[in-house]
């Protein structure tokens, strides 16, 4: 119990002075603190912070008057929420049926080989997160890949590799 109290105090201290927590709090107020708005609140939290770290989940639990286990349970149940920080760039390969039939598995394999990570991982330099989607509903322009939130149509292995290369370039040491 003592532990929990100190963690709440820590979270609130952490939250004070961070503008993003204020925005999140405003969102919670918009939902009148309703506990059934938990998923909406978590969406906002992830949008603001990029990922859901433990203190952030505790903050949401405290403000919605929910047990932390419930918040953690929901955050881990849904694929959309991530508890780990993402890379500077994200590359999401759609693995829906239409994309799969048209060769998205090859596209993913090429991206994995080029970035030297597996789908779902982030590179050691935090530059790139390689992710997969179950279907983004862009089936007529399969295979589709989402680069930093932008859907790109009819992707080939070469196109994905070119994009990954483009992202890598500005980060090269300028010696």
């Amino acid at each position: 119990m003592r532990d929990k109290e100190t963690s709440v105090a820590r979270v609130l201290r952490h939250a004070s002075g961070d503008k993003r927590f204020k925005i999140l709090e405003a969102q919670i107020k918009k939902f009148q603190g309703r506990q059934d708005a938990l998923i909406e609140v978590l969406h906002k939290a992830q949008e603001l912070f990029g990922f859901l770290e433990d203190d952030l989940l505790l903050f949401v639990a405290y403000r919605l008057k929910l047990p932390p286990s419930r918040v953690y349970g929901v955050a881990t149940f849904y694929h959309f929420f991530t508890l780990k920080p993402q890379g500077a760039h994200t590359c999401v390969v759609c693995l829906g049926t239409a994309c799969y039939v048209k060769g998205s598995a090859k596209v993913l394999a090429a991206a994995e080989a080029a970035a030297r990570i597996k789908a779902g991982e982030t590179t050691a330099d935090s530059q790139l997160s390689l992710l997969t989607a179950r279907c983004i509903g862009a089936c007529a322009i399969a295979p589709a890949v989402v680069y930093d939130g932008q859907v790109a149509a009819k992707q080939t292995t070469e196109m994905v590799l070119a994009q990954l290369e483009k992202w890598r370039e500005p980060c090269k040491p300028t010696t």
Binding site: E40, H79, R134, C135, A138, A140, I141, A144
Partner: protein, 552 residues
């Protein structure tokens, strides 16, 4: 807001129309190919050529032929529209020249192509025509007339009766009669009731609901409001996938506009009827398409299903009677009210009425969204509308119903598209995904693909689904990598039977379908991958107990 006000808005909007209209598809597919830059280019070109008084550049929803996008349609030149395909932003000045009747030298589509000609547009009547972000456009297309009619001229029971007579069945896949569901919710006792629209379109390879929500959001809202009146609800929830940000933003705009005009909220059309709609955003869980899991998610909990009965119609959200229908089901309501149940029941087959929207994708020439009358054959869809397989290859199978459906082999292409015929072939109507596969597609790999999906998406609540999908996937993996024997096939079939009959919800109950249907129609492909097993031929069936143990 009264009938006169509605008519005035429609009239004002109609008279303000310009002579020529350039409709720019701004649905997710075309937007990914720079449709926003095209619209800006068109706006700039119209301005540069001083044609603002004659040419309107309109943002519209999905025009259907997504594989040829980005698309721009031109109205006002000749009887038929002129459809520009594969438009690039730099084509904008030439398109504006075309609006003036001048030479343009661009690629133009055939409006009489079977892809369009064989369609029957009821749900998608406004798709690609109206601006989804302007309620006036929807009202000018007879929008909110159905809601006005039911609120001012009919009793709730008459609305239920009308929907029942139309023969409409749920478009989410299972095909439960919509009128029957509405009647059950209407009769359930309770002061508080809810209406929920299931927009958790999770089937990979399907995007009909996304397109409807992006192209004509008010149609769905109107359908929900009519349903709420019929069953006695005053609160609605629209559950949309987080993967569809454009649909979410257009729905938010639509709800705001409808509230401003008094078409949602309190005292709609100056009657005592109140109805509010809130959007609930999903968070990437396929199982949330199942209605009890969806309700858990709307309540902000983990999206795990619970046993039925009690059905949501009796005990749904927060224990109150709840009506849950799919996006396309709600989109059918306003046309049924406006044009009559008799008209609707006249379309389709004896037991499947109306039209169905399909996402025709995969290895087919013409990719896109089609709305066809029930009873059309798969061959007409795939060969005539779809133009057959890409590059003259042979169509091998058509997959319907996603991970809950099955693969229909080419020899059954003459099957009529209706709920019963597709079920007889071991597939289902499903929500509308139709993925065409050609000879290069390995059917065992497809079965493994779907099982991988189900394994990943199983919520873990019940053991048959949680453990069964993993074991079935492992067996399929073993078969694909040529390490399996005939015993493994027998074990796989046994597991399919077990998972199908003992899982808690639809996800587990239908997860074996892709395996069963490929085993039924493409068994040879499985057998070719087998190693000569110790037990000899395929007929050898291992005893159940040790068989299961061996798989673990």
């Amino acid at each position: 807001m009264q009938a006169d006000d509605l008519a005035a808005i429609a009239e004002k909007h109609r008279t303000s129309r310009k002579q020529y209209c350039l409709r720019t598809c701004m649905s997710a597919g075309c937007v990914s190919s720079r449709a926003d830059a095209i619209k800006q280019g068109l706006d700039a070109a119209v301005k540069a050529q001083g044609l603002e008084a004659e040419v309107e550049v309109r943002r519209v929803g999905c025009m259907g032929f997504c594989g040829l996008g980005p698309l721009v349609g031109l109205d006002g030149r000749g009887e038929k529209e002129i459809l520009f395909e594969h438009v690039k932003p730099e084509d904008a000045p030439a398109i504006v020249r075309a609006a003036q009747g001048q030479e343009h030298g661009l690629q133009v589509g055939d409006p009489d192509h079977p892809f369009f000609a064989k369609q029957m547009r009821v749900v998608r009547a406004n798709g690609g025509i109206i601006d989804p972000e302007r309620i006036e456009d929807y009202i000018a297309a007879n929008g909110y007339q159905a809601l006005h009619h039911v609120l001012t001229e009919t009793r709730p029971s008459e609305v239920v009766e009308e929907v029942t007579r139309s023969g409409l069945r749920g478009r989410g896949g299972a095909g439960f009669p919509t009128g029957l569901k509405w009647g059950t919710v209407a009769k359930s006792p309770g002061a508080k009731k809810y209406v929920v629209c299931n927009g958790d379109e999770g089937d990979p390879g399907a995007y009909m609901d996304r397109s409807i929500l992006e192209s004509d959001p008010h149609l769905v809202l109107e359908g929900m409001a009519v349903a709420a009146y019929a069953v006695g609800a005053d609160q609605g929830f629209l559950y949309v996938r987080a993967e569809y940000p454009l649909a979410i933003s257009r729905l938010q705009i639509a709800i705001r506009q409808a509230k401003q005009l008094g078409l949602l909220g309190g005292g709609i059309f100056e009657t005592p009827f109140n109805f509010n709609v809130d959007i609930r955003i999903g968070a990437g869980a396929f199982v949330c398409g199942e209605e009890t899991a969806l309700m858990a998610s709307v309540e902000g909990r983990r999206g795990t299903p619970r046993p039925r009965p009690p059905f949501p119609a009796e005990r749904g959200l927060w224990g109150c009677p709840t009506l849950i229908n799919n996006v396309e089901t709600f989109a059918n309501i306003a046309p049924i009210i406006n044009r009559g149940a008799g008209w609707y029941a006249g379309i389709g087959t004896a037991r499947s009425k109306g039209t169905k929207v399909f996402a025709l994708t995969g290895k087919v020439q013409n990719n896109g969204l089609i709305e066809v009358p029930m009873g059309i054959t798969l061959r007409q869809i795939v060969e005539e509308m779809g133009g057959g397989a890409i590059g003259g290859a042979k169509v091998k199978a058509v997959q319907t119903g996603g991970p809950s459906g099955g693969c229909i082999p080419a020899e059954f292409l003459d099957t009529s598209v209706d709920y019963e015929s597709l079920t007889k072939l071991g597939s289902i109507m499903g929500s509308g995904g139709m993925v065409v596969m050609d000879e290069t597609t390995n059917m065992v790999e497809i079965a493994r693909f779907y099982m991988d999906f189900c394994r990943d998406e199983s919520c873990g609540r019940c053991i048959p689904c949680r453990a069964g999908t993993v074991q079935m996937f492992n067996l399929l993996e073993k078969i694909v990598t040529r390490r399996a024997t005939a015993r493994d096939i027998a074990l796989l079939e046994e597991l399919c039977d077990l998972v199908k009959h003992t899982s808690l919800c639809g996800l587990g109950q239908t997860a074996p379908n892709p395996v069963l249907s490929t085993l039924r129609f493409f068994r040879n492909e499985y057998l070719e991958l087998l190693q000569p097993g110790p037990s000899g031929g395929e007929a050898a069936v291992p005893p159940a107990g040790p068989g299961l143990a061996a798989a673990n």
